[in-house]
Assembly symmetry: C2
Homo-oligomer: 262 residues x 2
Amino acid sequence: MKIALIGAGNVAWHLAQALQEAGHEVVAVYSRTAAHSEELAHRLPGAIPLASLDLSGSQAELILMAVPDAALAGVAHTLQVPAGAIVAHTSGSQPLAVLQGIPGARTGVFYPLQTFSKSKQMNFSVVPVLLEAEDEQTLRTLQGVAASITGEVHVVDSDKRKQLHLAAVFACNFTNHLLGISQRILQQAELPRTLLQPLIRETIDKAEKHPPFQVQTGPAVRHDQNVIQEHLRMLQQHPAYQELYLQLTQSIQQQASDNTSE
Amino acid sequence: MKIALIGAGNVAWHLAQALQEAGHEVVAVYSRTAAHSEELAHRLPGAIPLASLDLSGSQAELILMAVPDAALAGVAHTLQVPAGAIVAHTSGSQPLAVLQGIPGARTGVFYPLQTFSKSKQMNFSVVPVLLEAEDEQTLRTLQGVAASITGEVHVVDSDKRKQLHLAAVFACNFTNHLLGISQRILQQAELPRTLLQPLIRETIDKAEKHPPFQVQTGPAVRHDQNVIQEHLRMLQQHPAYQELYLQLTQSIQQQASDNTSE
């Protein structure tokens, strides 16, 4: 399939590579920043960097929009595509409807549920791709493209995708922040940051096998006030971490009491 | 080595099994709850359940105290051991000094840095064990025992162990709570809870290879106010989750601004 990419960030970068490896042809790349279009196009044999959002003269059959959520509506408003081409965005939080009004386009969503960094290789074949489309034919085409790069293809409507994105913020973005705080504490104690890795891996393994609320451990769920007070004292130099510690402890205790009364 | 266990909870359970597999002899088990001592002793050929903390007549050379932090001082106050026996506790947050005053004992700490559940098998050989002792000879003995069950033996003093324990609360207990919230959101949206697993695994992988604060992604670090406001609205039915979302978002933004000014 002939594909054009709008956007040259982390998502576009990994998608382009996976699509090309699956035998698709990335024919064009557009980024607001010309240097970025050129850099990505340069890595994709046959792709040309575009200077505008007028793709009406291109051969693209599928246009994937991997741009920041806040930019989506603006890009959709400007975009010109070949008649009958599919335009799909890659956002977890934006509805399908944000693409309404692109002349001659069939619209869909192609949301890869993963956290991407350019510096890190990615095994795309296990990344869930969540699809939505304005009609059955468009959905089937997107299913074909998704199935060519991953074994995890799901059809999910805009409202559920938004819930999923919220769940992902807790499981990924917020978890990453806690891991950062934990590494900062290790660093300040001059302890190797690898020390906690087996514990973190076990925490994740356990959460896959058991409902996390039911296997909660630690001072909060034990109501171990001595330890909790000492930890809060140790965090005095970091009021933001202290506040988080308190909120998370209260939330764990609240949850445990809800579990008991359920 | 002849070992007695005080406590019959998750830590005692897993330690006993690993020690016995390594060829040590667990000779006795004490728990405040007689049924628990009996249950654990029953699983350990040769071990007898004890009815009191008077171990002075036992053959134990090493007494491991795997009891709740709040119970440690009380148990230490009552415990009687054979002259010259080593008494070590398994707590991350309690100092070595909590064992002071046990007549005839040499004291130490034997802290396995892991989250244990009885229902889940554990590969102990990758679990870091953190040691401390009142003298070199005791430390060497504990090192020998630890090295017989794991490849990860570390000597860490009470103050650093306490910091490590605090870091573990963020990385394990708090992370588990966030994973629980995330699964609750999936459940309420009737989405399969396996959907987020690749994302969670990638988050952890990334945090092992890069400092998490430097690879933070998501609406908070992008200051994507539309998405943040929408997420807060979606959490209206869960004020505790809403409050956590807000605190974590602010902490991520604060951290990012500190990173920039560093």
